[in-house]
Symmetry: C2
Subunit: 515 residues, 2 copies
């Protein structure tokens, strides 16, 4: 056996059968691995003095992919400040991989035109940016729209490599431990950002609330963070809470909500231990109120509610109607404080929420999912991405993920909006396949997917206004006339990716005067 | 552009410039991805009826690597029941990768002799198993001893691939969400198991407390778990808490503790925001008491305490002496309930604790670390792995990790134990390199590493009994005579790996009559 002495003078065999080659110990890492100034914020290894320094240290260069989360929603300052700094540094040809894009991100129009951003992947897009891409074709490559689960899948699988993730945190320490539920810009769960942090090559934490080590709680740990930057403000608290809940008094919405609650009850799923998710729209919130009444009367205790969490859901948790909340995104300040103080209000990442490649998603554990729709067609296909005029104005979010996972996926929508029919022959853009939709509930009638005759039977026996989806389409058209089809151009400005990475649909540019 | 229609009839280009090949949407995943019986524990996908079924479903076969955690310490039933089932299935030639092995794991002797286990990686080993390996050479390949940080590094890097991780949980739901701080067998933090769960190919959760979905809190999420098995008991609550703290009244230990506290104070590190870690031994706990008195007198508030957490530390947290606890392993029932109820008592995984390849460990953020020693030599090298007679009887744990990371690493040990000198010319086995040790504190004197003359100066000025390490060695030998050296054989029964994967030392078999 051929030995060599290591630095401490011990004999180490160079090779051992069944073990292989051995490397002798050489040097201590005491100097190299130590954080020299734990509590001196100004000279800790990860803390850099400004965004420019963080970008330079990250090694960001032309052609790379960067990522952002949208937990600050319409109040986000971070994407704009990072992109401006990147542009000032002359870095170009970047692919921007965002969990979603909001009205706060109009600045991207300029960065696209100047060639700083040449590719975009996102769950959704709104406002001026969406219009410029839909109508003015400012981006050469089509935007790839991914569901929250599909995005997590593509990042986890390596299909979408992120070079540098820029992560806004309302609370962060000098080692990069962060959370989103404390600080002046608190936004709640960091669910979408957690996946970026885990898989990105370099991670830059951006905060306006640098706290003494260690931050508490820790949503994203220091083990995933390379640099920490402190800025004046990461967002506008007013707009961060834009998801704020509103209690609908709209009679049409209330009728739809009541019908939806009846469909849930009719399905037989509303029993002890059942699970529920809904959006933050007026109808969804009204559904929750009717649901609560029924649970109260029948002394039913649910298992969990999930997804984007509003104070409506945190109230149900506190009142014991549900045993837990699984929160991937927090919509209002009251829900943020619940996340901080209520152990049963649990933060989850996008993988746990909806990644179809994970070992089991919360979406797939759902009993009932209440879904919105911009359009729904006679094949039950849903559009939540483009307006009836074909212009991009929405987000896939977790819509296709939860529709696929939930035992009962109910679309709630008025028959008309601004004299535009919502139930149509064919949706402009398919964002969720009709196979995954079980029922469409409008104020004028309820259509059940023919795949579920037993459900239709039950609802009819309950005396609910059940009719075919074609009947709903006809009623809508009788009220408004056949809607004019959008005039599309030849350019593909968007690709709609299903959660498994396959292509559901393409979005073409919209020609002038069609809106 | 060559289009094809997807299953929904939409035209999808087969190829797009700048994007690549596109796959058309084919089928909904509603049937396939849904959990059919969320609240029916008996027919959920992951829940299997017994260990045998879980092992068979995991695909475990000859030559693979399996892992276990040691959070149940001396009370662990799980490793034994899993190994017995594996043996009964006739699976052989397995490498066992455990975070540590305790007196509860004597069953491995039989499984090694029968060829079921042919390789072992662990942080430590005790009792009959350790003696059989040291003296009887029952294992052909040497045991590879890894630090807690080094183990995480090797798993994260892929250097150590785990095929099937068997993870004991005191609370788990039917999807595999689990924690260790609730239930009859509660043990606290799952810090070491978290790394296995994240990187193992297949993960089997084993619990004696199957709860309704979702478990709360979630230490290891369902996204990492393949199978769930419910058994009668995962451990013996009495022995799980064996780390229980004892307040030393031993005058020698109290003198050592008081000196150690003085060294900390003399170093100048004990100021607002300082961080601290110590073991659960009598001396360490006494140090904490003296430290608390000093902090109280001088109104000092520490930053965090970390590592294995005892109720002594949770009391300091509750009394405000520290702002947070970072807990990779919980030593007693009182500390377990603190982890459950106190937000500032935070669970951390082994990567965050000590993985030198992570983006920043807690170990490297430590100001002061109090370390134990079985032996320490005149080069400040420490042995915590073998007895003076050369027989394996200890564990590396996080000893080398924290010694490397902490600004001040103090070894506390009596000059003698059972008339055996502790300070010697050369330790039998090097488990922590002397370069990372700053001071050795005994009841008869304090030796400072010559690398830190400024510290030595300060301690002398404080009137502390400072002397050379050689002087300590001489005092010990004068009291006991030159200790007899163990008689080693030619077989290498253990390899001591430094946290970076290099070899610190080898452990030879011990010949009869030498103990």
């Amino acid at each position: 056996m051929n030995n060599i002495k290591n630095r401490l003078g011990r004999d180490i065999p160079q090779e051992l059968s069944g073990i292989g080659t051995l490397r002798p110990y050489e040097h201590p890492d005491k100097r190299t691995e130590r954080c020299t100034a734990l509590n001196d914020k100004l000279c800790c290894g990860k803390l850099v003095s400004n965004l420019r320094e963080a970008i330079l240290n990250s090694g960001l260069s032309d052609g790379m992919t960067i990522s952002f989360h949208h937990h600050l929603r319409g109040g986000d300052y971070v994407l704009a400040m990072v992109m401006d700094e990147i542009a000032a540094l002359g870095i170009r040809d970047l692919t921007l991989c965002a969990s979603s894009l909001t009205t706060a991100h109009g600045c991207l129009i300029g960065h696209i035109k100047s060639g700083v951003v040449t590719g975009i992947e996102t769950s959704g897009m709104r406002g001026a940016l969406a219009k410029a891409i839909s109508c003015d074709c400012i981006l050469d490559k089509p935007v790839i729209f991914k569901t929250h689960g599909g995005r997590a899948r593509s990042i986890e699988s390596g299909e979408r490599k992120i070079d540098v993730a820029f992560i806004a945190a309302s609370c962060c320490d000098n080692m990069g431990n962060m959370n989103g539920c404390t600080g002046k810009s608190a936004f709640g769960s960091m669910g979408y950002a957690m996946v970026d942090a885990r898989f990105a090559d370099k991670v830059v934490a951006i905060t306006d609330n640098l706290v003494a080590y260690p931050a508490c709680p820790v949503s994203i740990p220091q083990t995933m963070v390379d640099f920490v930057v402190c800025v004046d403000a990461i967002g506008d608290p007013q707009l961060i809470g834009q998801g704020a809940t509103r209690n609908s008094k709209n009679p049409v919405e209330l009728v739809i909500a009541q019908y939806a609650a009846q469909v849930m009850i009719g399905s037989g799923l509303v029993k002890d231990g059942f699970s529920y998710q809904a959006g933050s729209g007026g109808i969804s919130l009204a559904v929750a109120r009717f649901l609560k009444d029924y649970m109260k009367e029948n002394n039913i205790r649910g298992s969990f509610a999930s997804g984007g969490i509003t104070s409506a859901m945190t109230n149900l948790l506190e009142e014991g109607y549900f045993q837990a909340l699984l929160d991937v995104q927090t919509f209002d300040a009251e829900a943020v404080s619940s996340l901080l103080k209520n152990r049963r209000h649990m933060e989850m990442d996008a993988q746990m929420y909806a990644d179809p490649a994970s070992k089991g998603t919360v979406a797939s554990c759902l009993d009932v999912m209440i879904l919105s729709a911009t359009e729904v067609d006679i094949h039950f296909n849903v559009n939540v991405l483009t307006a009836s005029n074909g212009v991009i104005m929405g987000a896939l979010g977790g819509h296709p993920d939860t529709a696929a996972g939930a035992k009962l996926a109910i679309v709630v929508a008025p028959l008309l909006r601004k004299r535009i029919p919502i139930v149509v022959d064919e949706v402009v853009t398919i964002s969720t396949p009709g196979d995954n939709i079980d029922a469409v509930v409008t104020e004028r009638g309820i259509a059940v997917n023919p795949a579920h005759p037993e459900l239709e039977e039950r609802l009819i026996r309950m005396g609910l206004p059940v009719c075919s989806i074609q009947k709903l389409r006809d009623m809508a058209c009788q009220l408004t006339g056949i809607p004019e089809k959008p005039r599309f151009g030849e350019n593909i400005v968007g690709l709609v990716e299903y959660r498994d990475g396959t292509m559901l649909d393409v979005i073409h540019n919209v020609l002038p005067f069609s809106s």
